[in-house]
């Protein structure tokens, strides 16, 4: 049986992790390479690096970082943030990234999903979707959830699958940062609609929340940042709990 994946997410700015981490075992908690290594050793199934820097030098710094991470860890990792072209993706993959995540650019230029899938294969194209519930509708939001659109989440999910997304990373803006659990109803609906894997994001606060995302939300993977960075949840303990609940997991 394929196992459910646990994915820590690292926010990167100018080549350093931000938002803070609390790994006392590390010499430098801001060093993404060191943190990536610690996570790969602690049982993370994959990692996501989200680049939030906006400098001119950005692309070069990110490519260098990707190279260092790829040289160090032996589990797969995804890189996202500010990718806007086939060339951007090419550079990241050439430097050792396994997958890339695109978000706002996919909404502005949906054809890019088709182009990326055709050139690199759909398995390495993750389409990240941020959405928020507005009255009875889930609407897609851009720029890290700041800019609302009129696009219906579920219509968009269907479209990105048809265009060649290999995975969907769904973040509920309503749940993100609340530590009150994932958006399981919306997750389950997405998961049943598509035949590609769905990664749940936003709302992780306890081990039970992860289990619910897999059982109620029917997610294939779950992503979180601070609960892992601040050691509120140890990945090994989380996986043990998942196993006890009958969820297939790599331990």
């Amino acid at each position: 049986m394929l196992t459910k994946r646990i994915i820590p997410c690292l926010d990167i700015k100018d080549g350093r992790t931000v938002k803070g981490v609390n790994f006392i075992s590390l010499r430098d908690a801001g060093d993404p390479v060191e943190l990536a290594e610690a996570y790969s050793k602690s049982g993370a199934d994959e990692l996501v690096f989200l680049d939030i820097s906006a400098t001119e030098e950005k692309r070069k710094t990110l490519a260098e970082l990707v190279r260092k991470v790829a040289a160090t860890i032996n589990i797969p990792f995804t890189v996202g943030g500010g990718i806007s072209s086939v060339e951007d993706v090419d550079v990241l993959l050439q430097n050792g990234a396994d997958k890339v995540a695109i978000n706002s650019v996919a909404v502005k230029n949906p054809q890019l999903i088709n182009e990326l899938a055709a050139k690199f294969g759909k398995q390495c194209i993750v389409v990240a979707i941020d959405a928020k519930q507005v009255r009875d509708n889930w609407l897609v939001h851009l720029v890290g959830g700041k800019v609302p659109t009129e696009i219906d989440l579920f219509d968009w999910v269907k479209e990105v699958e048809e265009r060649g997304a290999g995975e969907i990373l769904f973040t509920s803006m309503d749940h993100d940062g609340t530590k009150a659990g994932f958006a399981n109803k919306a997750l389950a609906k997405i998961s049943e609609m598509v035949s590609i894997p769905v990664i749940a994001s936003g709302g992780a606060g306890s081990k039970d929340h992860f289990c619910d995302a897999f059982i109620k939300g029917k997610a294939d993977a779950a992503l979180a940042a601070s609960v892992f960075h601040f050691k509120e949840i140890e990945i090994k303990d989380l996986k043990q709990k998942m196993k006890e609940k009958g969820i297939e997991v790599r331990l």
Partner: protein
């Protein structure tokens, strides 16, 4: 660990034909203390002690790239140990449903698509079992490996490892000097590194 003392004298060539993430394989070799040479040059490949044939992407376009460089003729004639990884392994089979392309015909089996009822690609960590040959020396049954693929080679007489995703399929194949693994050893944590190391020691 001293890198110098671990660098082996083996010449390992990773076939570079413009398909996929070969940097990761090179890095994995370096972590094991080996140097991998990226090349599509026939003489360089022929003179290698070990050849790694990677591949990520789409089968028919990868096959076209192999044909345009003559590698489709060269690879089946290689005498040294060859390891096909992921799409590399699939291309070593007779043919693939992906883009309805012929393959290199090393493994006498046809690559087919997973059932439509399953989530595809098959992405993530799954178990390998019924492990045979020295490629899996020291690897326990039901060990986890990382996989990313939408097509698979059914179980056949050349199967040396199986995986279960809706169906039992070939997670590894072997015929003479040719080995193929569907999973990514370079991304499969310490077990994957052990399998790579086993191959390098054949």
């Amino acid at each position: 660990m001293s890198i110098e003392s671990k660098i082996a004298s083996e010449k390992i060539v990773i076939i570079d034909y413009g398909a996929g993430n070969i940097q990761s394989i090179k890095f994995a070799l370096e972590r094991l203390g080996y140097e991998g040479i990226l090349s599509h040059d026939a003489e360089e490949i022929k003179s290698a002690d070990k050849v790694i044939f990677p591949g990520v992407g789409e089968a028919s376009s990868a096959m076209r790239k192999l044909k345009s460089t003559g590698l489709d003729k060269l690879i089946p004639q290689l005498k040294q140990p060859v390891l096909g990884i992921c799409l590399g392994m699939q291309l070593m089979c007779n043919r693939s449903e992906e883009g309805e392309t012929e393959g290199l015909g090393i493994f006498d089996v046809d690559v087919v698509h997973f059932e439509k009822t399953l989530k595809v690609p098959h992405i993530g960590w799954n178990r390998i079992k019924d492990l045979k040959t020295d490629l899996f020396k020291g690897i326990k049954e039901n060990e986890f490996v990382y996989l990313v693929h939408s097509f698979y080679a059914p179980v056949c007489s050349k199967t040396i490892a199986k995986c279960d995703y809706g169906v039992n399929y070939s997670s590894a194949l072997k015929k003479d000097n040719f080995h193929g693994v569907q999973f990514h050893p370079e991304k499969s944590s310490s077990a994957g590194e052990k399998i790579l190391e086993n191959f390098l020691k054949i």
